[in-house]
């Protein structure tokens, strides 16, 4: 800490000196895209000495030339050093949010500068802030917005953002106006419009500080996402109100038409922002489809397009923040599939870095400027502002929550509401808006002062105290630390259950629109926007279609006596395996286990069509696998012979087709083709379209098309040999199989679809994956079967069949 503060001071001293020598930095010109505008100092590079001097200068210095970039760099470095400094002592950042620390350092630096009578760099002109410093922050927030919780709570978020901000602005504005009427405070020259304008400025909440606290404390996801979303999206309202009120503040009279226009403007601003964002997002995604040859500049597109969205929105004076956030949201999904792994990482890192840097700078400057501006202090106004801000926010949260709670699956309880209300910190945007108030407003310094006071108060007092308070009142937390494998597994089980029950009830609540969107997405959008580097052969497509058809038909034609009672573990078999010594699990093992589970457990169902794309095949596999397993279980339970013992039907519930049994041994001629369309979308679940995105390691493996292999009879674990009472059942398989063979021989996809043959017929080629599915399920099931599924012939132990299961990274659905 000492060394870094020493460095800090040195830098500051150097900087002040230089500054003193060079004078104030001119503000950056507006509208320039580049950060560093060209500087033409009056001197130019030090020329050769004028005529008359004869000595060559050995050492020259030209500060003016590099002044601007140099100072920018120094400021950035200074702020970054400050950041390093706090993190040296970890405990500090735990209790004091980083923003507080940054502001404090800024205050110190400001104090120093003030004492040497320096002016801070005029970076707080409207243009610099809004065009250069704000976009990276917002891009950062938008890019890393957790989409799933966001969309689940989008109604609440928008409700709080829009209505909440309106409530706050108008409430605070009115109350302050009422206060201004009191003569004792000397504020009568503030009219209603100005008060409303000021109220708008200070009701813009800023997420930075509070989110880091929430993250550290791991508050429940709902609270987190609502606070986050509210901060992002209240910009639309703020911008509209701000523009409206500043426009109106100049006017002597406000007419109802203006109010109506204001409302209309709000919609234009909000929806226009979103529209631009989506447009640019799609264009960006489309562009990245073609960038496979120019990987090095792929990240550039992301930044350029987002920035462009921002600027275009600014051009039309619509909500640029919403534009850039929506652009990032839209873009992210498609771009991350198109770009290379490295570009993806680069993008994330750079977004984070830029956002972090901007944020640091802003708060730093806040501290500096606090000291160096002219303040106008009015006790009454400022104190009442504080009071009203607090009161109205609390009231607003209370009232709004009451209204919206019935619509939420997980209503906000009082503690959540407290967190929501208390977490309304003001920050950078309020600051910028205050600074860029038009000078026509008479009491601008008062407003600036009041804004700064509010910001400082909320950031310091609320920011520091929110953590202990949240912990004290014990806000519902998310359980982020899955220390135990148990929790991970059981939670996934519960999620699947819920998904299943929801499907069963035929209600999808808010998933309904999501599914509709996902369908649209996959049918149209992905085709256009995602590079399809692997064409799916028509054979495979046809095969899949047939497969699915069968599967669906089996479901439909299942009839008769399915006493598919739950699978029961045969207790006899279980005892054999019970005598295992307890194993020790290392921490590394645990981590591996968590990894395996998180990568491999099926995600909750998404009812979407997996379209052609490099992830389509893997996506299908899981749904197929599950389908096949279920069919097999139904299959087996249909067989009358399987009911020989009471135990047997239960154990047969899962999972493998016996040798010779085909998937559709009960297959009736395809009558229900009509089902196919509706159900194709259902069953061809893009199960983990998410998974395939996250499971980046599997990307390359998914490209490997597994060669078709012949399906020999099912390999069986040796222990089944002893059980031969079901051999007679073998005969039953033939008719089924032959029927199938005949029905399929014409529409047969070459070398694709075959059925299990009994031991005699080994002519069928099929993907061994299918076999492996059965293979592994069968292995797992082995210990539990008291009588095996009929017709399983023991295959000579074939190592080649063993290995694929263990070796193969992806299951290829081209089976049978």
């Amino acid at each position: 800490m000492d060394s870094s503060s020493a460095v800090l001071f040195t830098l500051v001293a150097v900087f002040s000196l230089l500054d003193g020598s060079a004078g104030e930095i001119p503000p950056k010109p507006a509208g320039g895209v580049t950060i560093v505008p060209p500087v033409q100092p009056d001197g130019g590079p030090q020329a050769y000495p004028e005529a008359g001097k004869s000595n060559l200068p050995v050492f020259t210095m030209d500060y003016l030339r590099i002044q601007i970039p140099f100072e920018i760099t120094l400021w950035v470095l200074l702020a970054s050093f400050a950041k390093i400094g706090f993190n040296v002592y970890h405990k500090i950042t735990v209790w004091v949010p980083e923003t507080c620390l940054l502001i404090s350092i800024g205050l110190i630096v400001g104090g120093i500068m003030h004492s040497v009578h320096e002016e801070p760099p005029a970076v707080l002109s409207s243009n610099v802030f809004f065009l250069y410093m704000l976009p990276p922050i917002v891009l950062d927030s938008g890019y890393f917005l957790p989409t799933r919780p966001f969309f689940e709570n989008v109604g609440t978020v928008l409700w709080f953002a829009v209505v909440g901000t309106l409530w706050n602005s108008i409430g605070i504005g009115m109350s302050l106006f009422a206060i201004c009427q009191i003569e004792a405070f000397g504020l009568q020259d503030l009219n209603l419009q100005e008060n409303l304008l000021f109220a708008t400025i200070i009701s813009a909440v800023d997420p930075v500080a509070v989110l880091s606290v929430f993250e550290d404390v791991s508050v429940n996801e709902q609270l987190y996402i609502v606070v986050f979303g509210e901060c992002l999206f209240n910009d639309a309202v703020t911008v509209v109100l701000y523009n409206m009120f500043s426009f109106v503040a100049d006017m002597p009279v406000v007419e109802p038409v203006d109010v109506f226009l204001g409302v209309a403007r709000f919609f234009v601003v909000g929806l226009g922002g979103m529209g631009f964002g989506i447009l640019f997002g799609f264009v960006a995604a489309f562009t990245t489809r073609f960038t496979s040859k120019v990987r090095e500049i792929e990240p550039l597109f992301i930044f350029m397009y987002s920035y462009l969205a921002y600027l275009v929105a600014e051009l039309f004076a619509i909500s640029s923040i919403m534009a850039i956030v929506t652009c990032a949201l839209t873009m992210k999904y498609y771009v991350e599939e198109n770009v290379s792994q490295r570009s993806c990482t680069t993008i994330r890192h750079v977004v984070k870095m830029l956002g972090s840097m901007s944020e640091t700078l802003i708060f730093f400057f806040l501290g500096v400027v606090t000291i160096t501006t002219d303040h106008e202090w009015n006790w009454a106004y400022i104190l009442f502002t504080l009071l009203f801000a607090f009161v109205w926010r609390g009231l607003g949260v209370l009232v709004l929550t009451q209204i919206i709670n019935p619509f939420r699956t997980i209503p906000f309880n009082m503690k959540d509401q407290f967190g929501l209300a208390y977490g309304g910190l003001r920050g950078a945007i309020s600051f910028a808006l205050a600074f860029t108030l038009p000078d026509t407003i008479g009491r601008k310094p008062l407003f600036v002062t009041a804004t700064i006071v509010i910001i400082l108060f909320t950031v310091f007092v609320q920011g520091i105290s929110i953590r202990p308070l949240i912990e004290f009142i014990n806000v519902r937390r998310t359980n982020r630390n899955l220390d135990t494998i148990n929790v991970e597994i059981h939670c996934r089980l519960m999620e699947h259950t819920i998904a299943g029950i929801e499907d069963l009830c035929g209600q999808w609540s808010h998933f309904y629109w999501k599914d509709k969107f996902m369908k649209f997405n996959n049918r149209i959008l992905r085709r256009i926007l995602i590079r399809d580097s692997r064409a799916e052969s028509s054979i495979v497509a046809l095969y899949k279609k047939l497969e699915l058809q069968n599967a669906m038909e089996i479901l439909d034609t299942v009839s008769g006596d399915i006493s598919a009672a739950p699978s029961i573990v045969s207790l006899n078999e279980e005892k054999k395996t019970s005598a295992k010594p307890k194993r020790k699990f290392l921490a590394a093992d645990l981590r591996n286990m968590h990894n395996i589970l998180s990568k491999n457990m099926y995600k909750i169902r998404q009812r979407t069509v997996a379209f052609t794309g490099k992830h389509s095949l893997p996506n299908d596999t899981h749904s197929r696998e599950i389908l096949i397993r279920r069919h097999a279980s139904i299959r087996r339970s249909l067989r009358p012979g399987s009911f020989q013992t009471s135990v047997v039907p239960k154990s047969h519930k899962y999972f493998s087709l016996p040798a010779g049994k085909s998937l559709d041994s009960n297959f009736l001629p395809p009558e229900q083709l009509s089902h196919l369309d509706a159900q194709e979308t259902m069953s061809e679940v893009a199960f983990p379209s998410r998974r395939s995105r996250f499971g980046k390691p599997t990307r390359s493996s998914s490209k490997a098309m597994m060669p078709l292999r012949r399906l020999d009879t099912l390999k069986e674990a040796p222990s089944v040999d002893a059980l031969d009472k079901d051999r007679p059942e073998d005969g039953r398989t033939r008719p089924g199989m032959s029927r199938i063979n005949s029905s399929y021989s014409d529409s047969r996809v070459p070398a694709s679809r075959r059925h299990f043959s009994s031991s005699s017929e080994n002519d069928n080629g099929s993907a061994d994956n299918f076999r492996n599915v059965h293979h592994e399920t069968e292995e797992e099931e082995q210990p539990q079967l008291s009588s095996p599924p009929p017709g399983w012939a023991a295959e000579p132990s074939d190592s080649s069949t063993q290995n694929p299961l263990l070796r193969r990274p992806q299951w290829n659905p081209k089976k049978m």
Binding site: I498, I501, L504, L555, V569, L590
Partner: protein
Amino acid sequence: MGSRASTLLREEEIEEIKKETGFSHSQITRLYSRFTSLDKGENGTLSREDFQRIPELAINPLGDRIINAFFPEGEDQVNFRGFMRTLAHFRPIEDNEKNKNATTSEPLNSRTNKLLFAFRLYDLDRDDKISRDELLQVLRMMVGVNISDEQLGSIADRTIQEADTNGDNSISFNEFIKVLEKVDVEQKMSIRFLH
């Protein structure tokens, strides 16, 4: 369909179901129409095929088990009462309910009952223990083919090891509850039923 459904469901029945499960009138009616739409045989009960006809359940890894949970031990048909009774487990827990039925038996959607539902998804033989094999079965259902049996076996072993306190190499219901004590089960196992 709607009018027919409501005439088939008498008011007294609705009241009884309401008392037993805690659903509201409109929720019950809505679920009844869902019940009848699933009931292709129109005999007032659902069989397993009726459930299996729901395509999404076919793709749910635990589809079979979920279906099975609806059917009481050994039976193949479930009537509307039973249907609602099972669904009642997923009703969200409201704060004001905690005091209401304090004297009567625990409501169906209590935390313990939710956990029991989940427990029974594993424990098919109803011996109140999740054995290693039962665990393996469910794991295998939830996991893809990429995991070898040995890996899955280790995971299962580790799971049991973490949870098992009395050394019988299986997870009892109490151990199950203990292991999930930090998890917000009330939220995870709740569905917002539409009105």
